[in-house]
Symmetry: C2
Subunit: 238 residues, 2 copies
DNA sequence: ACGGTAGGTGTACGCCGTACACCTGTCAAG
DNA sequence: CTTGACAGGTGTACGGCGTACACCTACCGT
C-alpha cells in the first residue's frame, strides 16, 4: 500500500513520451545535444530503456518529425485553392519556426516519413481540387519545393539518397511500391505525370533538370515583372 | 642519396591535399563515412597529422565547401541580367550535382564560408548591374534562396544559428561587422535595404515573415498564371 | 655545429550509439 | 495460489568518433 508511492515512479514511459521529451530537448538545448544518453537522463531513465520504445536514433528522429508535421493545420476545403494553399503553407512555416532544428532534420532524413508524405499528399489534393492537371500539379510541387514545408526542401530528389550512402546509386529510381500508391493517391498520380510522352513502360522518375529550370524560370519571370514595374517595398508600420 | 627514395614518401601533405582528399572521400563513400580517421588512412597518415593542416573537423568541412563553391563559373558580364543570373545558377547546380553531399553540408554550417559569401555577393552585383534597386535585390535574393546555390538555402536566416546551438539566441541579429562590408559590398548594401522606413539606427535584420510571403506570393502568382492559361509540359524528345 | 621550427606520431580521454544478458513487476492460465 | 511468460527498465561492454597533449625527427638559417 505504502510502496505504491514509488512503484510507478513516474508516468511509466512510452513511445509518445519519449518523442515529446526528445522534441523538447532539441528545442531547448539544440539538436546537436540530443543524444540517447541526454534524453534518457531527462526522462530519469537509463539510456538503454529508450530502445524498448524506439528502434534506434534514426527512428527517434523520424518520430520527432512526425510529431511536428502532424501539428500543421488541416487543409481548408471551403476556399479557392490559392488561399487554401497559402494558409496551409504559412501554417507549416509557423509550426517549423517553433522548432528551428526541424528543417535540417527533415532534409537530412534519407526517406520522407509517413506524416510528411501524408502532408504532401494533401497539398497535392488541394491543387487537384482547384482544377490542376496532374501534370501541372507535378511541376508545381517541385517548384514550391522550398516553401511547401515552410522552409526549403527538394522533394523526390533521387540524388538525395545517393548523397547519403555513397556514390550515385546503381539502380534506377525504382517505381513506387503499390502500398505507397494506396496510401498517398495524389502523390502517386503526380509521380508519373511528368510528360512521359513516349509510351515508356512507366514514366518513372522525373527530369530533375527540367524541374529545376521550370522553377527557376518561373521565379525569374516573376522577378522581371516586378523589376519592370519598378516595385519597391510597401511602407510598413513595423 | 639512396634514402631519398622514401624520405618524402608521398607529396608531403598540405591543406590543399587534405581538402581534395576529403572531397574525394565524401564523393565516393558518402559524407557519413568522412571521419578524420578514414581521411587520414586514405592519405597514408596518422589521424592527428591532419590537425597540422586544418583546425578541426568543422574547419575541414568549411574548406571542402570552399573548394566546391569556387568551381562555380564566374559571372558573365556581357549579357542581360536575366541570362547572366540564369547561367550562373545553372552552373552552380551543375557543380553541386557532382557532390551530392554538398547541399546538406552547406546548409548545416552555422555560418556561410567566405567563398559562399563571395559567390552570393557577385550574384547581387549582377542584379544591381541590371538596374535593380538594393531594396528589390534584397527581396529577390531571399526569394531565390533555394535556387541561388543550385539547390536550396535560406540565406541570412537568423533562426538557423539558433537551431544549432540552443534556443533562440539572446542577442539581437547583430549588425554586420565592418570588415564584412568591405569584402562583400553588395551583400552589405542589400543587408540594410529592406524597407526600414522609420529612421531606425540601422535597418538591421529583416522581416523573415515578409520575405517568406513575398517569395510565396511570387510563386503562387506565377503558378496561377500558368494554370489559367492551361499550361502543360512541352513535348520533349527525351 | 646548433637551436628552432614545421610536420608527422602515439597515447589517452570522454563522448557517442547500441548489442546483449539480466532483473523485476504484472497478469493470465492452470 | 502457483506459475511462467512477457513487457519494460538495468548494467556492462564494445567499437568508433573528435581531439588534447606530449613527443620525435628532419630540415634550415645562423
Amino acid at each position: 500500500m505504502a510502496e505504491q508511492a514509488e512503484t510507478l515512479r513516474r508516468t511509466p514511459l512510452s513511445r509518445d513520451r519519449v518523442l515529446r521529451a526528445a522534441v523538447a530537448l532539441a528545442d531547448e538545448a539544440g539538436i546537436e545535444s540530443l543524444s540517447m544518453r541526454n534524453l534518457a537522463q531527462d526522462l530519469g531513465v537509463v539510456p538503454m530503456a529508450l530502445y524498448k520504445h524506439v528502434a534506434n536514433k534514426d527512428e527517434l528522429l523520424d518520430g520527432m518529425i512526425d510529431v511536428i508535421v502532424s501539428q500543421i493545420d488541416p487543409p481548408a476545403s471551403d476556399t479557392h485553392w490559392k488561399d487554401a494553399i497559402r494558409r496551409r503553407i504559412l501554417s507549416a512555416r509557423e509550426v517549423l519556426r517553433r522548432h528551428p532544428w526541424a528543417p535540417l532534420a527533415i532534409e537530412s532524413r534519407s526517406m520522407a516519413t509517413p506524416a510528411v508524405l501524408a502532408y504532401l499528399d494533401s497539398v497535392v489534393a488541394t491543387f487537384k481540387a482547384g482544377g490542376f492537371s496532374a501534370n501541372l500539379a507535378h511541376h508545381v510541387m517541385h517548384t514550391m519545393g522550398s516553401r511547401v514545408l515552410g522552409f526549403s526542401q527538394e522533394l523526390f530528389d533521387a540524388s538525395r539518397q545517393a548523397g547519403r550512402s555513397g556514390a550515385t546509386s546503381p539502380e534506377p529510381p525504382a517505381a513506387l511500391p503499390p502500398e505507397f500508391a494506396a496510401q498517398f493517391p495524389h502523390l502517386a498520380e503526380i509521380a508519373g505525370a511528368a510528360s512521359h510522352d513516349d509510351q515508356s513502360v512507366v514514366g518513372q522518375g522525373c527530369d530533375d533538370q527540367f524541374e529545376f529550370e521550370f522553377a527557376l524560370d518561373l521565379l525569374l519571370d516573376g522577378i522581371e515583372r516586378l523589376h519592370q514595374q519598378g516595385w519597391t517595398s510597401p511602407r510598413r508600420a513595423r
